[in-house]
Amino acid sequence: MQTVIDIVLLLVLLSDLYLLSLTRLGAAIRVMAFQGVLLALLPLLPAGGILSLHGLIIAVSSLAIKAILIPRFLSHAAREVHTGLAIDSHIPYGAALLTGMGMVLVSFWVARKFALPVTVTSRLWIPVSLAAVMIGLLMLIIRKKAISQVIGYLVLENGIYILGLSLAAQMPFLVELGVLLDLFAGVFIMGIIMNHIKNYFDDLDVDNLTILKD
């Protein structure tokens, strides 16, 4: 079972890096949906190979929200604003990818420094989680379009979710449900706001939102 978990986690990591190099919004949203499927698989692969009801609930709700609802919602928003192939990054894509790889190295190095005291099923949980959080933050900083920033935020949230899953055996599941709920509510409201941005500017470029300054 450990190899399956390892493979899934590595795929998540690769999809995060792939996101950094993508120029097309539509492709990025499809990658997010794919990542949602991967994350929904993880709770189905517990240590002893016995499927719990708790794990099943988490898996189904992750699939529904991360793999279906949010990507649909994002692609709806993307269609509305006709974002083409405009450069959507403050730094070149190659540089972003290199930075992302550096972050992966750092997170593996950091994860070696401390071990979680809980029994984990794979040694990749912590480094993948840390890397996703850092790549998410990177995307939030370097991307210009509001939708791309939301995708960065989702990558960050997914990284946190991975850490939460690795501790799932010892933690009450309310917390994870809270994650999903808040994730959805957050994007939902961000989506409403994105609609408003569109009404004012016909475009979701956050560079428009730089009037308030000191």
Partner: protein, 481 residues
């Protein structure tokens, strides 16, 4: 009773959504605030047992902050009655939809903040803090302008990222709690009881993430960037609540994390970080306050400064805890009063530019005097509450042999004082320009003065009951006061 404090505003919020009558809806806001104050008083007089297996409980820290939430919410509800009547007197019935969402979100905001202060489970606390963001975003967007949209977008995105990092920290805390095969729990009391058994390396990582996460919401520099925009674009009554109440709720969340570090025997590490964040926040605030052209942004940066003072006060160690809590209370009273006064100035002059407001003392003596008194109160002039905490904190720093910190603190407070004086006095003095002759209802002018009176009374005499509450709160943080 604990549950009622949280559930009642939600019920009123639902009622406000259903009610069509504009006047009745405004009265619902006021009624709910009155009932909330009543319930909080009964909680103070007779603290109930924890409910839901300890997830919701009342302790000294919670009571103090709940009292601030409830009192300031009542004042802003009272102010809101007059403000909504004034601001929306001319609009047609159909265009009043923003007001409906406004009151619904306002009441929901009250519920979520009550949940923050009452929750004794760190997962629930996190959900509650996130809920405050969602409840307050529509409040900032009330005016529906491009500027308020930008402010709301920044607020949502930056605070969501902050809150995500806080969750990361919460998970590390969970890992610390479940070390060695224990059944992990994020109950505050359970974590405090575990104390030294917690793995210090994990609680350290947890504390850093919790501080950065909740610190974003609290407005500690350099994560404060949403704060000036949100405060300047939101309606003043919302700014008053954001500064007076919401920032405090985030501070309480950081105090909870600090309590756990204290129990784990690692308080010195947490204090060092808090001290640094505190001084950096004060420095950044001072830089932006000097030559600030917008008086609402000025007040927002002043909030960053005072949040810095709070972090600094905890960073000074046990002798500072009592004054940190006292400072939080007085800052809330004073800053809310100032934002309400700023709202009055804005509705008379229709501008947020300091340079375009002249002669307040002659044209509108009520507002002008409130602005001067508010300035004296916020800058820690003797006889006001903030003087007691700021002066004593300087003493704590000097006698604790932290001379460099004390010198920096004194220098930054002085710089802020100069910057604010240079902005406030020209607005009051001079000859008023023609045109700004609009009169405001007396109630709108009196409510800020009421808040300043309260902080003045606290500066002269701290009532025994409050003193005991502050001592208990300081003791809960590990202080000897």
């Amino acid at each position: 009773m604990i549950a009622a404090v949280i559930v009642l505003p939600i019920l009123f919020s639902a009622a406000a959504w259903l009610v069509r009558n504009v006047r009745l809806r405004r009265r619902l806001w006021l009624t709910c605030s009155l009932l909330h104050v009543g319930m909080v008083i009964s909680l103070v007089l007779q603290p109930p047992q924890p409910i839901l297996g300890g997830w919701l409980a009342v302790d000294a820290l919670g009571l103090l902050f709940l009292g601030i939430v409830s009192l300031l919410f009542l004042v802003s509800a009272a102010y809101g009655q007059g403000w909504l009547a004034q601001a929306h007197a001319g609009t047609a019935q159909g265009a009043r939809d923003p007001e409906r969402i406004f009151i619904v979100c306002m009441l929901f905001f009250l519920s979520t903040m009550s949940l923050v202060v009452l929750s004794h489970h760190l997962g629930l606390l996190w959900v509650a803090v996130e809920a405050t963001t969602l409840a307050s975003a529509p409040l900032i967007f009330f005016h529906r302008t491009v500027h308020s949209l930008e402010a709301t977008w920044k607020y949502l995105l930056i605070c969501s990222v902050g809150i995500a990092l806080a969750l990361f920290g919460t998970f590390f805390l969970g890992a610390a709690a479940s070390a060695g095969g224990r059944e992990g729990s994020l109950l505050l009391d359970g974590l405090l009881r575990l104390g030294p058994q917690l793995d210090v390396r994990l609680t350290r990582i947890a504390f850093i993430f919790l501080l950065v996460g909740y610190g974003t919401k609290m407005g500690l520099a350099p994560m404060h960037t949403w704060l000036p925009d949100a405060h300047s674009e939101a309606p003043s009554v919302v700014s008053a609540l954001l500064s007076g109440v919401l920032l405090n709720c985030a501070f309480l969340a950081i105090l909870r994390a600090y309590q756990i570090c204290q129990a784990a025997g690692d308080a010195a590490f947490a204090r060092t970080i808090l001290l640094i964040f505190g001084l950096v926040s004060m420095l950044l605030a001072a830089v932006f306050i000097l030559n600030q052209p917008d008086y609402k942004r000025l007040l927002a940066y002043s909030s960053v400064e005072h949040m810095g003072i709070l972090a600094f006060a905890i960073g000074l160690g046990p002798a500072g805890y009592y004054f940190a809590l006292f400072h939080a209370l007085n800052h809330s009273l004073t800053k809310s009063g100032l934002f309400l006064t700023a709202g009055n100035i804005l509705s008379v002059f229709k501008t947020k530019a300091i340079g375009e407001v002249r002669g307040l003392a002659r044209s509108h003596p009520g507002i002008g005097w409130a602005w001067v008194i508010g300035f004296l109160a916020i800058s820690g002039t003797p006889l006001f509450g903030l003087f007691i905490s700021e002066f004593n904190l300087l003493g704590v720093a000097i006698f604790g042999n932290r001379l460099l910190s004390a010198a920096l603190y004194l220098f930054l407070i002085t710089a802020v004082f100069i910057g604010m004086a240079a902005a406030f006095f020209p607005m009051v003095q001079g000859r008023p320009e023609e045109g700004a002759q609009e009169k405001l209802p007396a109630a709108l002018q009196l409510l800020p003065l009421l808040l300043f009176l309260l902080t003045f009374i606290l500066g002269v005499h701290i009532p025994a009951g409050l003193d005991e509450l502050l001592r208990l709160g300081a003791a809960a943080l590990g202080g000897a006061q």
